[in-house]
Amino acid sequence: MPEFELPEITRRIFLHRGLQALGAAVALPLVAHELLAAESGASATAALKVLTPAEYAVLGAVADTMIPHGGAFELGARDVDLARRIDAYLPRQQPPVVIGIRGALAFTEQQASGLANKKGVFSSLSESDRADVLSAMLAAGGLPASVFLGLKSLCVIHFYTLDATWRYTGYDGPMLLEDRK
C-alpha cells in the first residue's frame, strides 16, 4: 500500500466520514494550492460560493462516479449538479471542514489515479477509469480509503436529501406543521 506523508494537522482536520460526513481530509497544502490556482470553465461556474472552478470540476467528477446516471433509477449526480449543491452548503461549514474537503479533492485529483495505475488527473479520466480509481482508493485502505469515505458521504448525503431523489427512495420528506412547510 502506498504511504502518504501528511502534515499531522491536516490528518486531524479531516473530515467527513461515513456517519458524520462532510469533507474528506488530507489537505496536501502544496497540491491544494496548485488546484486552487487552476482555472477551468469560469463561465459555467461563476456563481460558486466556496469552491474554485477546478475544485468544482473535480467534485463533479467524483460525484458523477459515486452516483452515476442510470442504474436502479435514472437520476444521477450530474443531473442535479450535485457539486454546485455541495458548494452552496460550504459557507455554513467551519473553516477546518472546508480545508479538509479541499485536501480530499486535491488528493483525489492529483494522486489517486496512480493507485489504479491510471495516467492523468482524476477529472480527466473516463467514467470506468474513475470508478477503478475509487475502487483502488477503497482497496488501498488507510488514508485513500478515508478520503474515499469522506467524499462518498459528502456526495451521498447531499444527493439523497435532495427532494428530487425521494420518489426513487420512498422517503416522504420532513413532517412539519402545515404552516412551517
Partner: protein, 512 residues
C-alpha cells in the same frame, strides 16, 4: 436574559459570581440551580441559539447549525466519528432522548477503580428525582414505537432475549422522528427548553456564540474568564469578552473542557487531564426486508427499544457486553452507511423504506487521550487519539453475529454492516464471514455519541482531575460538570448521568 453574539458590538468586561461554561446537560442543570439559589450567574455557550422554528428537519441544514464541525469531528486515525452537540442546549438538543441511569455496578466499579466513596445510588437518589421530574422522564409512549424498533423487541421475545422500551424526556411528541437535528415541535425537553430558560427566569444571563478560551487566576481565589465573541457559522473571532468571577463551572464537554484547563496553564498539576477518554463506539447495522415490509425507520421515536440480553455490567469492569437499539431519522447519513458506490449503491438506496437500522452499542474501557493545538485566533483543534482494544473488538464481532442472527430471524433478506467493502450478508449461514470483518479507518463506520472521561473524578490529583464534589484538584472554586468527569463509561446514554452528577455537585456546592 439571553444575549446572542451578534448583539455584542464592542469588547465587554463583565463581573459576576459564577461563570458556567457550556449550556448542555451539565451546564444547564448547574446554571439553573445556581441562579435559583440567588447566585449571580453567567452562562457562556460557544454555539448559537436556535429555536424550533429554525429546525426544518433537513440534516444538510441542521448538522452545520447544531453539531461541532457539522458532525465531522473524528478521532486522529479517522476511525471514529465523535459527535458533539454545539448550540445553546448542547447535546440535549440533538440526542435521541434516551434517559438511562448509571447502573449500580458502574458506581461499584468506580469505587474500586478510583476510590469514590460518596457516589452511590443512595447519594444520587434525590438528584435523580429532581432531574427526572424536570425532564418529564417516562417510558416512551407505545404509539411512538416504529416498525424498526418493534422488530427488535418482537424478535428478541421470539428468541427469548431480554429487551425493554426505553425512557425518554419527551412531552407532546408527534413522532416526526428528527430528534437528532433538533425537535421542530419542542417535544424533547432538552436544557434549551427547561433548565436554561428557568435559569434566565431566576436572573442568569446567557451569552451564546461566545467561546471560553482560558481562566486567569487572580488573587483571593478569584478568576478572570477570557472569552471570545464569535461570528455565527464560521466561528471566526470577533471581539474579546472577559468576566471577573468568584467561581467557574466548566461544562464544555469531554472534548473541550480539558482544552480550557490546559490553555489556562493548569495542566501541570493534573497528569490525568485529557486522558482516560472513552468513546463507546457504535456500529450501524442495516437489515433489508422484502418490498411488502414498509419499515420507514425515520418516523416515530427513532431509538425507543433496547435489546439488553447481552449487557454484562459488573463491579469488576463497569459497563460491559453489548446491546442493540433501533435508530433512524437521518436518511442521508443512513444511505451513506451502505457499502460501495455507483450502481451498486443506488440499488441499496431504492430500498430505504425496507431498511431496518440498528445501533450495535459496545461499551469500552478508557483508552483515549486528547491533546490540543490552538489557531492564532484561539480556535481549538483537538487531537483525539483513541486505542481500540482487542477485547472490545471481540465483543463487537460477537455483537455483530448476534444482531445478524436477530435480523434474519425478524425476516431480513440481507444484512449490511456499516463498512465500505465488507460484503452484504445474505443468509444466517454467511454470518461466519464476520470473522473476516476488518476494523479499519475509511472502511468501518463507527460513531461515538457518548464521549466521556477526560477529567475523571477520583480522590487525588495523581489519579484524577476532579474530586467527588467535582472540584478540580488544587484549584479553589473551579468545578467540572460534564461527561468528562466519568471515571469510566457511566451508562449506555449519558444525558441523565451528566445531569444527575451535576445536580448532586451543585447542591453540595450550595450546601457548603
Amino acid at each position: 436574559m439571553i444575549v446572542q453574539g451578534s448583539e455584542i458590538t464592542k469588547p465587554l468586561a463583565l463581573r459576576t459570581h459564577t461563570v458556567v461554561v457550556g449550556s448542555g446537560p451539565g451546564g444547564g442543570v448547574a446554571a439553573y440551580h445556581l441562579a435559583a439559589a440567588g447566585v449571580d450567574t453567567i452562562v457562556l455557550e460557544e454555539g448559537g441559539r436556535h429555536v424550533a422554528a429554525e429546525f426544518n428537519q433537513r440534516e444538510e441544514d441542521m448538522r452545520p447549525m447544531l453539531y461541532r464541525d457539522g458532525g465531522s469531528q473524528m478521532t486522529s486515525d479517522g476511525m471514529v466519528a465523535v459527535l458533539q452537540g454545539s448550540c445553546l442546549g448542547g447535546g440535549s438538543v440533538v440526542n435521541v432522548s434516551d434517559c438511562v441511569p448509571i447502573p449500580g455496578e458502574v458506581l461499584a466499579h468506580w469505587h474500586k477503580l478510583v476510590g469514590t466513596t460518596d457516589v452511590n445510588e443512595a447519594a444520587l437518589e434525590e438528584s435523580y428525582r429532581r432531574v427526572q421530574k424536570s425532564l418529564n422522564v417516562k417510558p416512551n409512549n407505545k404509539s411512538l414505537l416504529n416498525r424498526n424498533n418493534l422488530l427488535l423487541s418482537e424478535t428478541a421475545t421470539k428468541l427469548g432475549w431480554k429487551s425493554h422500551v426505553m425512557h425518554s424526556n419527551r412531552k407532546g411528541c408527534v413522532g416526526s422522528g428528527y430528534c437528532m437535528v433538533g425537535c421542530s415541535y419542542d417535544a424533547r425537553l432538552g436544557t434549551n427548553l427547561t433548565y436554561l430558560p428557568w435559569a434566565v427566569d431566576k436572573g442568569a444571563t446567557i451569552y451564546s456564540d461566545v467561546r471560553c478560551d482560558r481562566l486567569e487566576k487572580l488573587g483571593g481565589s478569584k478568576y478572570r474568564v477570557h472569552a471570545t465573541v464569535l461570528e455565527r457559522g464560521s466561528r471566526n473571532a470577533r471581539l474579546p469578552l472577559t468576566i471577573e468571577c468568584e467561581r467557574v463551572v466548566l461544562a464544555a464537554s469531554s472534548i473541550h473542557t480539558p482544552a480550557i484547563l490546559m490553555r489556562s496553564g493548569f495542566g501541570a498539576g493534573l497528569p490525568q487531564l485529557g486522558k482516560n477518554l472513552t468513546l463507546q463506539p457504535q456500529l450501524g447495522v442495516i437489515g433489508i426486508f422484502d418490498k411488502h415490509q414498509d419499515i420507514v425507520h425515520w418516523r416515530g421515536a427513532p431509538q425507543s427499544v433496547a435489546v439488553h440480553e447481552f449487557d454484562d455490567n459488573s463491579a469488576e469492569h463497569g459497563l460491559g457486553g453489548f446491546r442493540f437499539e433501533g435508530i433512524g431519522g437521518l436518511v442521508g447519513v443512513i444511505q451513506a452507511l451502505m457499502p460501495g458506490f455507483g450502481s451498486e449503491h443506488k440499488r441499496f438506496a431504492t430500498q430505504l423504506r425496507q431498511m431496518s437500522v440498528t445501533q450495535l452499542l459496545v461499551p469500552d474501557q478508557p483508552s483515549g487521550e486528547i491533546t490540543y493545538q490552538w489557531t492564532d485566533d484561539g480556535r481549538v483543534l483537538p487531537k483525539i487519539d483513541y486505542v481500540m482494544q482487542d477485547e472490545w473488538k471481540q465483543r463487537l464481532m460477537l455483537g455483530m453475529h448476534k444482531l445478524g442472527q436477530l435480523l434474519f430471524e425478524s425476516g431480513a433478506k440481507e444484512v449490511a454492516f456499516a463498512h465500505q467493502s465488507f460484503p452484504v450478508i445474505k443468509s444466517p449461514d454467511e454470518l461466519s464471514k464476520i470473522e473476516q470483518f476488518q476494523i479499519a479507518p475509511g472502511l468501518t463506520v463507527l460513531n461515538s455519541a457518548h464521549n466521556q472521561g477526560t477529567c475523571r473524578m477520583g480522590l487525588t490529583a495523581d489519579t484524577s482531575v476532579v474530586d467527588q464534589n467535582l472540584k478540580v484538584h488544587g484549584l479553589d472554586n473551579v468545578y467540572v460538570m460534564d461527561a468528562s468527569i466519568m471515571p469510566t463509561s457511566a451508562a449506555t446514554h449519558t444525558m441523565i448521568p451528566i445531569m444527575v452528577m451535576a445536580d448532586r455537585a451543585v447542591h453540595r456546592m450550595l450546601d457548603s
